[in-house]
């Protein structure tokens, strides 16, 4: 039954936006739990923490990080779009706002990915 | 299965739902059942577009509305009923206003009115060009307020149970399960609408097959004035979708292929706003005489709205614009709409008096299914939704008064068993080599050809012969779908059977009436004959075809005069 949230056949971009919002929301919640869990390492002292950081801030982890950031950016920008509509504004131009949001997501994501890439690679 | 109610109302269109509300308002103790073969808001009444006539403002009067109606009816209307009708109408409009109908408004917030054919005052109240739609939804929603109303949606009427001249109940198929249900009732109101699908080129919904009329007719209730069938001047070519009279009421023109407003030759005073029979005949004559516009779907006449301007069309005729664009790809703002006269309204129906009572005790009929006869030989535009409201209420109230003093009726199990075996063994279980769709097609062709606007003896005789032949062949019909639940094949076959009976009444009635009056025009008898034919036709069922009787027309104030527009 919940698969219907992600059925996109014949659906418009709005439904896809909804599905992605839900998906990214769940992903980010899971990440939140993981994040809180690994922050425990701070309490275990410098070595534990730094070895942890060392394993996560690596090129191998970068791809996950970049995808996670995509999820975050999407959820944020799309969320702002939804808040706008849900507070009762601008339904009439919701189509163009959706396109603009998608554009913003892509642009911000590309910039962020580049910065993260240079950050991790130490360029 | 058996259920019991005080009043059972068949048909959930305007008249049926108005009757429900009237009965429910009368007493909270009554248990009222509403049976319909579709969900209530899928009824044909939603297709009514133009408006509803009522006397509302200074300058108009009840007598004027009544006179317009009587003159429009070619003096076949019962004038006592017409007077009752026009007086009740304004309150109905206000009630709908109080119940939430989004009437179109004037600048100062009053209910707006527009011009309509045959009315000598701008008295048609409207809600854009979706009047019927809004009225139906308003009544449906209002109906939800009454807890003593029980709806039976998607139940198909198969027979009435009448014993000793009194109604006992009726049987209907519950489509979802396919079970036959016996309704025991003290009173039954038929509000099943007209019989428009007799014709192929028609404005009617697919569901309007005259079920109530045919069932009543078979049960021995007479049908009145069935030969009068209204042809609306402007049906969209080729589908027959209604292009409301309001198009002309708002100032649209009809033009032939030379671009001429030909109505000035037929009704110099009223022009396009003459009554429908006059305009339809004029258009058909133009087409017959070669002045129609040629197209792949036959000849048509142009309904020209281009001079009204986009703003007015959007405000007053949005549905028309939408339909023209969607169905024929023509934007009325820029191009004229192709139209042709189209079968539109059944003036006749179950014989009732002005209280909607049929000769059978406890059986009422309202709306298009009944024939109080306020429309006589030709109905005026915007009087049909009005009729549904006034006489729907009258029927509901009279029925409620009647059942408050009536005993419960009991129908024996034999009746149920017999009906069950008739439907499931004889009709559904039968094998044969005819198919109902073919019969329906041939019936439509016959009606479109021989019982159209201009009628003549030879063609009428041919039609009668053909219909008899079709009835013969109908006995040999086989239904493909043998399943029980939601068997639309079975329903369709039933409907064809009903329509064949009604077609026979229409055809023989038209053959018998040797005069031209209102919508019934005989080329061989082109004059109205008040001496011999100022009377209503009553058709009684016999196994070999209808038996006819005639009753006089009630005249109170207005003696017949020549009808000129």
């Amino acid at each position: 039954m919940w698969q219907k949230w992600f059925s996109v056949k014949g659906k418009s971009l709005f439904s896809i936006a909804f599905s992605l919002h839900r998906l990214t929301g769940v992903v980010l919640t899971i990440y939140l739990c993981m994040h809180l869990a690994y922050l425990t390492s701070i309490r275990m002292g410098k070595e534990v923490f730094e070895s942890f950081i060392a394993t996560t801030v690596t090129p191998q982890f970068l791809i996950f990080d970049i995808l996670l950031v995509l999820a975050g950016i999407y959820h944020g920008v799309n969320g702002l779009r939804l808040i706008l509509h849900e507070f009762g504004l601008t339904y009439e131009s919701r189509k163009s706002i959706l396109y603009v949001s998608v554009a913003i997501v892509l642009i911000v994501w590309l910039i962020a990915s580049y910065r993260m890439y240079t950050f991790v690679m130490g360029v | 299965m058996k259920v019991q109610h005080d009043i059972v109302i068949v048909g959930a269109g305007l008249a049926g739902m108005r009757a429900v509300i009237a009965a429910a308002e009368k007493s909270k103790k009554l248990s009222i059942a509403l049976i319909s073969k579709t969900y209530p808001i899928r009824c044909h009444s939603v297709c009514a577009e133009g408006g509803t006539a009522a006397v509302m403002r200074e300058g108009d009067s009840f007598d004027l509305h009544a006179w317009d109606t009587v003159k429009g009816s070619d003096f076949l209307a019962d004038q006592d009923a017409v007077e009752f009708f026009v007086r009740e109408m304004p309150k109905e409009i206000l009630r709908l206003d109080n119940w939430g109908c989004p009437w179109s408004r004037t600048e100062d917030g009053l209910i707006a009115q527009r011009a309509f054919g045959g009315h000598s005052f701008n008295r048609t109240i409207f809600a854009a060009d979706r009047t019927g739609f809004h009225e139906v939804h308003t009544l449906y929603e209002r109906m939800l307020m009454y807890p003593n109303v029980i709806r039976y949606d998607e139940y198909f009427l198969t027979s009435l149970v009448i014993e000793d001249g009194k109604i006992k109940g009726l049987t209907a198929i519950e489509l979802k399960t396919g079970d036959l249900i016996l309704f025991e009732a003290k009173a039954v109101i038929l509000a099943t609408g007209g019989a428009g699908r007799l014709y192929g080129f028609t404005t009617y919904s697919h569901t309007v097959t005259g079920d109530g009329m045919a069932v009543a007719y078979r049960a021995g209730v007479p049908l009145k004035d069935m030969e009068f069938f209204q042809f609306h001047p402007t049906g969209l070519v080729p589908s027959g979708i209604l292009m409301t009279e309001a198009c002309r009421g708002e100032g649209g023109y009809l033009r032939n292929k030379d671009g001429e407003r030909f109505m000035e030759r037929y009704a110099p005073e009223k022009m396009e706003l003459a009554p429908r029979d006059v305009v339809a005949r004029a258009m058909w004559k133009e087409i017959l005489e070669g002045r129609g516009i040629e197209s792949e779907h036959g000849y048509y006449i142009a309904l020209d709205l281009t001079h009204l301007g986009e703003e007015k069309i959007n405000e007053r005729l949005p549905l028309i614009r939408d339909a023209a664009i969607k169905f024929v790809g023509i934007d009325p703002v820029e191009e004229p709409i192709p139209v042709r006269p189209v079968a539109h309204y059944t003036m006749g129906g179950v014989h009732t008096n002005a209280n909607c009572e049929s000769p059978v005790k406890g059986l009422y009929a309202a709306g298009e299914a009944g024939c109080v006869s306020i429309h006589g030989a030709n109905r005026l535009g915007s009087n049909s939704t009005a009729e549904c409201l006034v006489f729907g209420r009258a029927a509901g109230e009279k029925a409620a008064e009647y059942v408050l003093n009536a005993d419960y009726s009991h129908v024996s199990n034999e009746v149920y068993k017999a009906e069950e075996s008739r439907i499931f063994d004889e009709i559904l279980g039968k094998s044969g080599d005819e198919n109902p769709y073919q019969l329906k097609k041939e019936l439509n062709e016959t009606m479109d050809k021989n019982l159209w606007i201009f009628r003549i003896e030879d063609e009428l005789k041919e039609a009668v012969k053909k219909i008899k032949e079709l009835k013969e062949r109908f006995n040999n019909v086989e239904i493909v779908d043998k399943t029980k639940g939601f068997n639309t094949d079975l329903v369709y076959t039933f409907e064809v059977g009903y329509m064949l009976d009604l077609a026979e009444v229409v055809a023989i009635g038209a053959l018998n009436r040797t005069e031209s009056r209102g919508a019934h025009y005989r080329l061989d008898y082109p004059k109205r004959d008040d001496e011999n034919w100022l009377k209503h036709t009553l058709a009684y069922y016999t196994p070999d075809g209808p038996r006819f009787e005639y009753i006089p027309v009630t005249i109170t104030k207005w003696e017949p005069v020549e009808r000129k527009y």
């Binding site: 919940w2 659906k11 709005f14 919002h21 939804l82 | 206003d97 493909v480 939601f486």
Partner: protein, 236 residues
């Protein structure tokens, strides 16, 4: 020109696809196509239809994955092969016919009628409403209850008792009517946990509505209003 109709059928027990080839002329609608099949090829094909002019709402089906009114959809606009399925989120009874009972019950549940204290059946009075006040709600009166919006709603897909876009729009239509006095009653009815809170603005309802009504807008508006009313009620 021949067009292929793939129809998802259901005989009460099993569901299967059946293909029909039918000749199509310019201007022919999907509904006419279905009637052609019923009248000439297979009489047992079951679907609902009535007015064939897009005003009764009977014939909403899924055409190539998108819910539309069959009667107003031109076949040739879709292409030379099309898939017809019953609406999602409704229980299929037979072939293209789905069970609308619950849908209408939900519509009924929001009290979609004018509520007035001075309601007088016998002696009604004319109520004044300016064209501007009329326009404030008029668009929302155009709902034909075809179920297209409900069939695409992701909340309705997973929660059977969600009121759905059509019912909430009906509630909004009456709340926005200047003649109405029942706003609070209706707000209370739509703000339960099966009401407006289930909407997450997938906005698909507005995309598929054959009458371009924008149910999503109505839901947002009535939700905002009920949130404000709630906050007010806390301080009362």
């Amino acid at each position: 020109m021949d067009v292929e109709f793939r129809i998802r059928r259901f005989d009460g027990e099993k569901s299967y696809w059946q293909t029909f080839n039918i000749p199509v002329k310019r201007g022919m609608t999907v509904l006419e196509g279905l009637y052609y099949i019923k009248e000439n090829l297979d009489g047992s094909l079951t679907f609902r239809a009535s007015c064939r002019m897009a005003i009764c709402g009977s014939c909403a089906v899924k055409i190539n994955g998108k819910p539309r009114l069959a009667c107003e959809t031109q076949i040739l606009e879709i292409g030379n092969s099309l898939e017809v399925e019953p609406l999602d989120n409704f229980k299929v009874i037979k072939d293209l016919v789905t069970d609308f009972e619950g849908f209408f019950k939900k519509h009924e549940a929001v009290k979609p009628y004018l509520i007035r204290k001075d309601d007088n059946y016998e002696e009604p009075v004319e109520l004044i409403q300016s064209p501007k006040e009329l326009h404030a709600y008029y668009d929302f009166t155009l709902c034909v209850k075809c179920g297209a919006c409900y069939s695409v709603c992701p909340a309705a897909a997973t929660r059977d008792d969600y009121l759905g876009p059509a019912a909430i729009t009906a509630a909004y239509r009456f709340n926005a009517d200047s003649r109405d006095e029942g706003e609070k009653i209706r707000l209370a009815l739509v703000c339960g946990d099966n009401g407006v809170w289930r909407c997450h603005f997938a906005a698909e309802c507005s995309e598929v509505c054959p009458k371009q009504i924008d149910p999503a807008k109505a839901v947002q508006k009535i939700r905002f209003k009920s949130a404000i009313e709630t906050i007010k009620s806390i301080f009362r």
